[in-house]
């Protein structure tokens, strides 16, 4: 079976946090074009705070995701705090009690996270938000597994779709959030939320792939 253990995979969350912190200035710079310019700063603050709390003893992936979701929701604020907070808490809920994470469990995790984001935000695909990276990534992952592709190949499809979705935001006009007030002037630049979401999904998928390779 293509699967990796929940118990030994909490370090994937540390890797996600590292990637967000590395992209602090980049995310703030693109946010500066159509927002406040603080997206990277706030994201890095939340993810590094979570990483500090998680360092030390190894934890299951579900527990680490839950801790990250909790920090983002209770410590970060803004709109990205609650949105990413419920996303990671949703991931954690879906993995709770799952010992071996296979493609089906991974898909349930993604789907529950997306549902949670959509339960507090009103964004749809095409509104120039993180949903533009997240929704197609989930779709590509399910389509690949439905076609019988391996878990690892489905993760590659997920990364490619997330990044294609992220790039699609360049040509979009923001419909929601602070950039929406720019109207046409929001066209031509990446959406910061879709960009951070693609970073998160790539790093999550790469972490899962490394675990799968290690499990073989």
């Amino acid at each position: 079976m293509q699967a990796f253990s929940n118990a030994g995979s909490g370090d994937i969350v540390l890797a996600i946090a590292r990637r967000i912190v590395e992209n602090r200035s980049y995310l703030s710079d693109i946010d500066g074009l159509i927002g406040d310019g603080d997206h990277g700063v706030n994201m890095a603050k939340g993810f590094s705070l979570a990483a500090e709390r998680l360092r030390g003893e190894p934890r299951p992936l579900a527990a680490s995701l839950a801790a990250l979701g909790d920090v983002l929701m209770t410590e970060i604020g803004g709109s990205m705090g609650p949105l990413y907070g419920v996303m990671f808490s949703g991931f954690a809920e879906a993995l709770d009690g799952v010992e071996e994470i296979d493609a089906a469990a991974f898909e349930r995790m993604l789907r529950h996270g997306l549902e949670e984001v959509q339960s507090i935000g009103a964004a749809k695909v095409g509104d120039k938000t993180l949903i533009d990276a997240f929704a197609p990534a989930l779709e590509a992952f399910s389509a690949a597994t439905a076609k019988g592709e391996s878990f690892a190949a489905a993760l590659d499809a997920l990364i490619a779709a997330a990044e294609k979705g992220r790039d699609s935001t360049i040509d979009l006009v923001a419909k929601i959030g602070r950039a929406a007030r720019l109207g046409e002037r929001s066209r031509g630049v990446l959406d910061p939320g879709a960009t951070s979401c693609a970073i998160i999904l790539r790093s999550l998928a790469e972490g899962a792939k490394a675990k799968l390779a290690g499990a073989q």
């Binding site: 700063v41 929701m73 410590e75 604020g77 803004g78 990205m80 705090g81 609650p82 507090i120 720019l182």
Partner: protein
């Protein structure tokens, strides 16, 4: 960047500590250091009145905590909504047993965090009603008022809502009065120069020399248009027109006028604006019952000003006259 800061990542913490030290007689810090409360909060038998918002707008939001004013404020990062936890903690500290109203501005983050906090408060058995300010006329057309941002009109909403609560009104009555107060407010901002978030280090938008951005938001959200900077009198006339054309007030109506600097505009220029604003309002057959001129709701060191005009009825007039003690001017 020529700024008085220690660590750019800790400007909010440092600000709040200094604020509380300055106003120990009126405010206290909650167990959550991102919640500032009135020293007497919670007041038994009174509806709690709270707000919350990003930092960088001082003296808003924290400056309006006080006697006959807000019971607690949730503090966010610079220009960023407070967390759901901070809103929730502010609700808890303000609850005197008759419920809490949360009077806040229409921004995506605040909407989400308040919504989550209201649910958390309900679990504690605290009923929370909300009013969302949407007084900025340039942020959406009148028929989409629910999309408009909340700006300096929020201060008048807090004042009326808090005064109503202080007079012993019920939770529903306080909510209804605060809603009426903000429904009666219209605001517009004009920006002449950008602001810089300390943690970012460079201006977050540009306004060319000799230009002004009409309809600018409290965080530099772009306005309706950029045009050459005109005289104060012409700018004031444009601002009054934008605000009153949206208002449709009958001749003889009484109004409150609030002109707030955005952070780096000298106070005397606000009076220069008011010189024409007052004339223009009277020329339309309206009467200025109260005028508030100063730095009430700033945007870091943005150059510019906002104008808010609130239509008054007897109740709102009386509520604005209720005496208060809070750190901010009012």
């Amino acid at each position: 960047m020529q700024r008085f800061i220690n660590d750019p990542d800790l400007v909010v913490e440092d600000t709040v500590r200094g604020f509380v030290k300055a106003h120990r007689d009126l405010v206290k810090l909650g167990e959550n250091p991102k919640v500032v409360a009135y020293v007497e909060a919670p007041i038994r038998g009174k509806v709690g009145v709270i707000t919350g918002g990003g930092s960088g707008h001082e003296p808003a939001f924290v400056g309006y905590v006080g006697r006959n004013m807000l019971d607690a404020v949730a503090v966010g990062e610079i220009f960023s909504s407070p967390t759901a936890k901070s809103f929730h903690d502010a609700m808890k500290i303000a609850d005197g047993g008759r419920g809490v109203v949360c009077l806040y501005g229409n921004y995506a983050g605040d909407n989400m965090n308040v919504k989550m906090a209201v649910k958390l408060a309900a679990k504690d058995g605290v009923e929370v009603l909300t009013v969302v300010a949407n007084d900025d006329v340039c942020s959406a057309p009148l028929d989409q008022r629910e999309k408009r941002r909340g700006v300096a009109g929020e201060i008048l909403m807090w004042k009326c809502g808090a005064a109503k609560a202080a007079l012993g009104a019920s939770l529903q009555e306080v909510q209804a009065t605060a809603q009426k107060a903000i429904d009666n407010c219209r605001s517009i901002g004009v920006g002449l120069g950008p602001c810089t978030l300390p943690a970012v280090g460079h201006p977050n938008f540009n306004i060319e020399a000799g230009k002004m951005e009409v309809g600018i938001g409290h965080h530099g959200e772009p306005g309706t248009h950029v045009e050459p900077l005109k005289t104060a009198a012409e700018v004031a006339r444009d601002m009054v027109k934008a605000v009153l054309d949206d208002h449709n007030l009958p001749s003889g109506a009484e109004v409150a006028v609030l002109i707030s600097g955005l952070g780096a505009t000298p106070t005397n220029e606000l009076y220069i604006l008011n010189d024409t604003v007052d004339d223009e309002v009277h020329a339309r057959g309206l009467k200025v019952a109260r005028a508030y001129i100063g730095n009430f709701f700033t945007s870091l060191e943005m150059v510019g000003a906002t104008l808010t005009i609130m239509a008054l009825d007897e109740e709102l007039k009386q509520l604005l006259a209720v005496e208060v003690a809070c750190p901010a001017p009012l």
